[in-house]
């Protein structure tokens, strides 16, 4: 009974909200600015990880082979990677690089640093056409 009352209250609150504020899909410039700022802050974290000699164990950094994240071709993922033997996503390939040239430990796929590295890589490759699976 208590749950039902709570639910009714919530529905009422949402209806009221809809009448007073903009629809969810009408983004204001302020919204866009905030979200872009959030995104670029994460891109910056990704760039830091990409140039961090402590990401692996031997001091090698991602940017040594991938200046500006080049030759990571994020637009082609998911794709079949010969060295792994199945279709994989970009973060799995990032972990391959961390394990091999960087001689480090792989990260969890939802590790905020892993998300940030993808934000950086894809931002540097922005406006390039998607080409999933391409070799």
């Amino acid at each position: 009974m208590r749950n039902i009352i709570q639910t009714l209250f919530l529905v009422a609150a949402l209806s009221l909200g809809n009448t007073l504020t903009a629809q969810a899909d009408e983004f204001t410039k302020e919204d866009l600015d905030i979200w872009q700022k959030e995104f670029m802050a994460v891109v910056a974290v990704g760039r830091t990880a990409f140039t961090d000699p402590n990401l692996g164990t031997n001091g090698v950094v991602c940017a040594q082979c991938h200046p500006n994240g080049a030759n990571t071709h994020p637009e082609t993922y998911p794709k079949f990677q010969k060295q792994i033997g199945r279709v994989i996503t970009l973060p799995e390939m990032i972990n391959w690089c961390i394990r091999n040239p960087l001689e480090g430990k792989p990260m969890a796929l939802d590790d905020p640093k892993m998300v940030a590295m993808q934000a950086y890589i894809t931002h540097e490759r922005r406006n390039v056409k998607l080409a999933p699976g391409k070799h």
Binding site: G59, A63, P67, A70, N71, K82, Q83, P101
Partner: protein, 354 residues
Amino acid sequence: MSIINRRTLLKTGGTFVAGACLPLTNIRLAFADQSQDFTFAYISDSHIQHIKGTKFVRNWDQGLKRAVAEANLMSPKPDFVMYGGDLAQLGTREELDHGFEIMSALKHKTHYVMGEHDYYADLGEYWSSQVGKQYYSFDHKGVHIIVLNSILTDDHWTHERWANGTERMGVMAGLDDPRGSPFMVGAAQRKWLANDLKDISKDTPIIVFSHSPLQKLFKNWNFWTDDAELVQAILQPFDSVTVFYGHVHQIQYNQIGNITFHSVMATAWPWPYPESYAQAENHMPHLTVPINRADPFFERDATGWQYVDINSGKATVKFSLTENEPRTVSYDAKRGHPVDTKYVSRSKPPQNHY
């Protein structure tokens, strides 16, 4: 070259390399003296990287060791070996010493070019104490050979901006670090160059070695020398000039007037071509047929060394690539510029692997 062929090369050693070294040029002049022809080996960009104590990054060590071992197998022997710069990654004494030790296994006379990774920790002091002059010239079999230090930059950036040499080196070591500064040969060396060439006859073939390209290709990654036009203007009056440079970790070649440009490969790791960075303009030579993007599964993919035949003062560059088919870029007298002898145009790509 497949892995199996590469193993065959290593097993059969001298015999195989001797076959590969036979002069391949199509431009020997009818009146030229064959005894003036020569071959040199070119090893570059090993980026020996210190971890701590006696530990170094294994991958980069292996690239240089392999190039040294293969260059030692060359038969007939090359007249000399040129090292193209960036022996070290962060210019420390440990890295340079370890690199020189690996290089000391070479059985041939070796000359060195200064790279930015050898220089910016202590402004070349330790490198110079071990190698000698940072720019110099010598004559070899009728060719005038010049080595330049092309990775200098302006005094303010060099002396005023950074707390210490380690910080300065760290910034310059990041190819894409926006706090870096464009390379230059500089006024003092340009004056030395003009003076060095003063009494050389215009029909003497000239070979110039620099670390950065003496042309402006892609500023974002310092595939660039800021006073390139001024250096080219000093060289342009000579009938035949060939410039060799490292730094770019990929095959590039170009022709500007009388000057032929060739890059050399790194033994450490490959770099993507500038066109793969979608956010900045590049001026890559249209002549260059690129090599395939590297496949990281193969540690040595798109790395290697090269040997160069000089016939009548013109170069045939043979790229010895550990995990890729060998490539040959040779001056084509009919076209008046260098061409890849197998992949003449981009319409016939060297590999189709993405």
